[in-house]
Amino acid sequence: MKIQKIAFYGVLLAITVAAPFLFPSFSTQLATLWLFIIVSMTWDMTGGQMGYNSLGNIFFYGTGMYVAAVIAIGLVYDVGEYTGASGGGRYDFTNEQYILGFVLGSLGAGIFCAISAVILGYVLFGLRGPYFAIGTLGTAIAAGELVSNWDWVGGGQGITLPVYSGDFDQTKLFIYFAFAITGVILFIFLKWLYTTRFGAAINAIRDDEEKAEAMGIHTMRYKLVTWAMSAFFIGVVGGISAFQLISFEPLETAYQTINLGIFMVVCVLLGGKGTLWGPIIGAIMFQIFKEVTWNYFLGWQWVALGALIVVTVVYFQDGLMGWLRTQKPEWFGVVVDDKDGEAVR
C-alpha cells in the first residue's frame, strides 16, 4: 500500500514536470489547467469543507492581478504615469526588474488578498446560505466596477505589463512552473490541513455551525483564517495570470465574475464537493469539455456550457467523487486514510 502510494504520487509528479516538455505547443493550456485546479481547490476550502458557498472568490483573483501589476510597475516607474491613457513614452524593463516584479508582485498579491479576506470576511461571514453567496458576488461585481473607474490603475483601459525580453520559450516554462509549483504546494498543504484538528473544526462548521459554536469552536476565527488562506493562493495565481496574460482589463479579465468566478464552482461540483481530489478531477473534466466545445461548437459554446452547469447542478450535484462513492463504496470505506488515492485508479 505504502509503496503503491509513493509510486502513484511519483508518477503524478513526473507527469507534471514532463508535460510542458512533451507537449510544448500546449503549455499555455496546461498552465490554464493548473489555474483552474488551484482556484477550484481554494474554492472547495470554504465551499466544500466549510459549507460557505462563495460566488465572489474571483474578487481575490482580480485583486491579485492588479496588486501584482502595481507592485511590478511601481518598483520601476510611477504607476499613474505608466497607465496614463495616451502615455507617449516607452517603458522598458530589464530582465532582473521583470523577474523581481514577478516574484514580489505575486507574493504581495497573495498577502494583500489574505488581508482583504479577513476584513471582508468579518462582515460577510455574518450572512448565511444564499445571502453569503449573493453578498460575495456583489462584492466582486462592485470591486470590478470601482476599479474600472479608477484612473490610477488605468480604469477601463486596463494595464499592459511589459513583455519579458529574454528567451521566449523560457518565459512559457517559467509561467507554467509558477502555476504548477503553486498547485503542488497547495495540494500538499491541503492534504495535510484536512487531517488536522483545524480541518475537523471547519467540517464541524459545515455540518452544524451552532453546535460547533456550542462545542467551543471559535467559528468566526476559523472562518476568517480559512478564507484568508484560500484568498492567499488565489491572489498568488491571480498575480501569475497577470504576467501570463500581459494585457488585462478590469471587467472581463480581472474581475470576470461570470466566467472563472462561476467556473470554479462548477469544477468543484463536477468533481465532487468536500473532497481533496474532487476539485482537481472536476477542473480537468471541465477544461477538457471547454476546449472541445470552444473548438467544435463555435458560437454554441456558451449554450453548451450553460447546459453543463444546469445538468451538473440539477442531476449530479455530488459530482464524480460522490457518484464513485455510491458505486464503489469499498474504494472509500476500506481504508479511510487512503480514500483519495484509490479513487483515481
Binding site: 458557498n53 444564499p130 453567496a133 456583489g138 461585481i141 466596477e145 473607474n149 461540483l269 456558451w302 440539477v314
Partner: protein, 311 residues
C-alpha cells in the same frame, strides 16, 4: 472631487432638476419593480432564487421586437400581451425541465442552476437575434397623444413610452395583487407559500401551484421587457443588470411583501439616478451593487439586534 461638488451644486442651483431625477428614477424603478415582483413571488412561494430573471425580461423584449419586424401591422403596445403569453410558455417549459427539480434542494442549488440557465438564454438570444442593441420606437400620435411631453422649459421630458410603461406596470402589479387576493389559484399560491406540506394535505396540487407561479413570474418579466424595449434598448447580454436590480429590491423589501417591492423598486430607481448624477454615470452599476451590500449588512445588524433582544 471637484466634479462631485459641481454636480451637487447643480442640484441646488436648479432645484427643478431634483424633480427631473426623481421622475426619471420612478419611471426606471417601476420597471425594475416589475422584474423584482416576479422574483419576490418565486422566492417567497417556492424558495427559488432565480438569477435568470433579467434574461426573461430581455426575452420578452425580443419577443415584442421580433413580432414588430415580422408581423404586419404589429403595434409595439401589442408586444406587452404577446410577450406575456410567450414568456408564460417559456417559463412553464423552464419549470418543467429544470426548476421543478431544484425546489426541494438547498438554496445554493437554485442559484447556480438558474445561473446556468441565464448563460444559456443569453447566448441563445445572441444566436437568434444578433448582438446589436435593439429598440422599438413607440408612436402614439395615431391615438391622439404626443410622443413627448415637455415641462419647465423642456428640462423635464416625459416620453409617452415611459408614461405608458409606468401605467402598464401599475396595472400589472395591481392585477397580480388582486389575483392573489381574490382567485382560487391566488389563494392556493398563498397557502403553498405559507406551508407547502399543509397545503398538500388540504388537497392543493402544489406541483401545479409551483408551475403556475414560475410561469407567472416569467410572464411578468416578459411584459416588463416588452415595455423596456420601447423605452430603452435591449441586448442579449443586458439581462444581468435587471437580475441584480431585482435581487436588490427583493432583499430590501423582504419576502412576501408585494407592496414593499414596489416601494423599494421606486426608491432604488431614484437612488440610482441621484447616485449617477452626483458621482457620474460610470458608477451606476456599482451604486446598484453597493446598495445591495448595504441592504444585506443592514439586515444583518438588525438580525443581530433582534437576537440580542430575544436572549
Amino acid at each position: 472631487m471637484d466634479q462631485i461638488m459641481g454636480n451637487i451644486d447643480l442640484l441646488i442651483q436648479f432645484p427643478i432638476v431634483n424633480l427631473k431625477i426623481i421622475l426619471d428614477g420612478v419611471m426606471i424603478g417601476a420597471l425594475f419593480a416589475l422584474a423584482a415582483y416576479g422574483l419576490a413571488l418565486v422566492w417567497g412561494v417556492m424558495n427559488v432564487k432565480n438569477l435568470a430573471q433579467g434574461d426573461f425580461v430581455i426575452g420578452g423584449g425580443y419577443v415584442s421586437w421580433w413580432s414588430y419586424h415580422n408581423v404586419p401591422y404589429f403595434h409595439p403596445l401589442l408586444g406587452v400581451p404577446v410577450a406575456f403569453i410567450v414568456m408564460w410558455a417559456l417559463g412553464w417549459l423552464t419549470y418543467k425541465l429544470v426548476i421543478s427539480r431544484v425546489i426541494e434542494r438547498d438554496l445554493f442549488t437554485s442559484l447556480l442552476a438558474t445561473f446556468g440557465l441565464a448563460i444559456m438564454y443569453a447566448q441563445l438570444m445572441n444566436l437568434m437575434f444578433g448582438s446589436d442593441t435593439q429598440s422599438l420606437v413607440l408612436d402614439v400620435t395615431g391615438l391622439g397623444l404626443e410622443n413627448n411631453y415637455y415641462f419647465a422649459d423642456g428640462l423635464i421630458d416625459l416620453p409617452a413610452a415611459k408614461v405608458i410603461g409606468v401605467v402598464l406596470a401599475a396595472i400589472l402589479a395591481t392585477g397580480v395583487i388582486l389575483f392573489m387576493k381574490r382567485s382560487r389559484m391566488g389563494q392556493a399560491i398563498r397557502a403553498t407559500a405559507q406551508d407547502a406540506r399543509a397545503a398538500r394535505v388540504l388537497g392543493i396540487d402544489t406541483e401545479k401551484v409551483y408551475a403556475f407561479t414560475f410561469s407567472l413570474n416569467s410572464a411578468i418579466c416578459g411584459a416588463a421587457g416588452a415595455i423596456i424595449v420601447m423605452v430603452w434598448v435591449i441586448q442579449p447580454f443586458y439581462g444581468i443588470t435587471y437580475s441584480i436590480r431585482a435581487f436588490v429590491i427583493v432583499t430590501a423589501a423582504g419576502l412576501g411583501n408585494l407592496p414593499g417591492v414596489i416601494a423599494a423598486g421606486l426608491g432604488i430607481g431614484a437612488a440610482e439616478q441621484y447616485g449617477s448624477h452626483i458621482f457620474g454615470i460610470g458608477y451606476q452599476q456599482a451604486i446598484a451593487v453597493i446598495l445591495l451590500l448595504m441592504v444585506l449588512i443592514y439586515r444583518l445588524v438588525q438580525q443581530r439586534r433582534n437576537r440580542q433582544v430575544m436572549q
